[in-house]
Symmetry: C3
């Protein structure tokens, strides 16, 4: 019921969203192929992984119709990724851990897009970080739930939520300092990606509650 | 943040929604009885299966309060179906595969209602088809997730998403051609139902990604 | 698309929400510790359990940005509970069945907050009860789904949905009778808590469909 002036989204949200949708849909479609789903399963998982996090974000802040439905580029980005994977998965699988790689890239893009869009809609810094994290982990979490797996975000020994939090925090702090949003967004996405990759490669883990080991 | 004129929904959305709610709630309640849930489990699954898809649709396009809460007939339709099943499940189970049958009917009604409501809210044709599919498969998918099962929409060898897509596409194409919405809606719902039934009866399957067999 | 006057929420929704968030986040964080999740898992489950039900409620009625993002106390309440549990779980676990206890308290607070907020937004009595139940069971259900468990609300022999329904119904009936909302809210929350505790302690169960035993 807030009285909002017309919201002007800068280019950071759009491009970070589109990049996040494409790479996360690649990851979702690859997982579908590995699970031997048919062509519709591949497209459903690509769409879910690519669009669900941003859909949740937009519904929560009241940016409706959500961008995934209102923007003519969002759905095609997910469909393009699914098509690439459907025909090219054997090539892509030659990369080392491609699903993890795509997920890490998407995590950065979405954390930045989510936090930036939250700030644009007048959300405070702390919940803006939460919304960045939710945008980043939401699509992958729903994908994992649909596959009846425990989502990555709850798995021990993977700095997944922390990595998303870092990128979103970069955006929020950069905004508070009045820095230009495009370079700040790039730094945020890179920070998330780097922390996530370092965590996976070197097995960095977060502590458990004292006494729960 | 779109400036929308007051939205006037024709009768197609209302009647397709109500029919979809009733038959999908029948299916959800039957599954609950089969899982030996108690009376509240039966009502919860009927409500989830009947209302969740349309709730997601309405939240995504910003049609809030969602029809499931704002329209006085939606919730009673789901409750009526749950009551019928609670007392009459032994009779209904004599039908051949009643859950599948009710799901197939609901798939058609909801695909039409979802696509039509999306168009009414100014959504473009391609995302309108997506919204029709989401409305159609959402309730059943959430039901399956709550029962810790992989949703039907991801199961191989069932033209479930494609059937919903067909009905939604009929609505979108009919709208583009300026055809009257009621007969187009009936054709769309029938097309979805027919494709789904043919797929189940004759074991029609969709292809997997090349090289993933 | 309803033309709503500026909505004035009384103190009942705020305080019931905050109390519900804190105790349900305690329960969610405790479950995370028991599942040996790391510090981020503990915070994620606390946030999900504490905030998801109210987020769903607010999205469904169009109260966006949702209170969990717009109100400066909501997210900190969940974070505080997670912190308390992270460092103090060994103390808390000495209580008898603390997760069940916190869940029962949260069930009452959220049922009242959900039903009251629904009425304030002009929702009819019957769907207002549904929204109270959804607010009450939503966070815990999502938490259970993320942990790949069947949600409590579907488990046989636990008057979980009925207890939430009772508290929400007290609010709706009290409102219809023109009674003051604060004492009615307290009675509603207590009624839910009491019925839930009695059900657990004495093994009260709901009937199954005739012939499904």
């Amino acid at each position: 019921m807030n009285e909002l002036p017309p919201v002007v989204l800068g280019p950071v949200v759009l491009w970070a969203d589109l990049a996040g949708i494409f790479v996360s849909a690649l990851g979702g479609a690859l997982l579908a192929v590995r699970h031997k789903l048919d062509v519709f399963g591949v497209f459903v998982l690509a769409i879910v992984t690519g669009l669900a996090g941003g859909m949740a974000r937009d519904m929560l802040i009241g940016a409706t119709p959500v961008a995934a439905l209102a923007n003519p580029l969002y759905l095609p980005s997910a469909l393009a990724a699914a098509t690439v994977v459907f025909f090219g998965h054997r090539l892509i699988e030659r990369a080392s851990q491609p699903v993890m790689l795509f997920d890490a890239m998407a995590l950065g893009f979405f954390a930045v897009a989510g936090a930036r869009k939250a700030l644009t809609y007048g959300i405070d810094p702390l919940p803006a970080v939460l919304l960045g994290v939710l945008t980043a982990v939401g699509g992958g979490a729903l994908r994992d739930v649909l596959l009846a797996e425990v989502p990555r975000v709850l798995k021990v020994g993977e700095l997944y939520a922390l990595a998303a939090m870092l990128g979103a925090a970069v955006v929020v702090v950069g905004d508070a300092l009045g820095l230009p949003s495009a370079p700040v967004g790039i730094v945020g996405a890179l920070a998330t990606f780097a922390l996530r990759m370092v965590s996976v490669r070197f097995g960095v883990t977060a502590p458990r509650a004292p006494g729960s080991e």
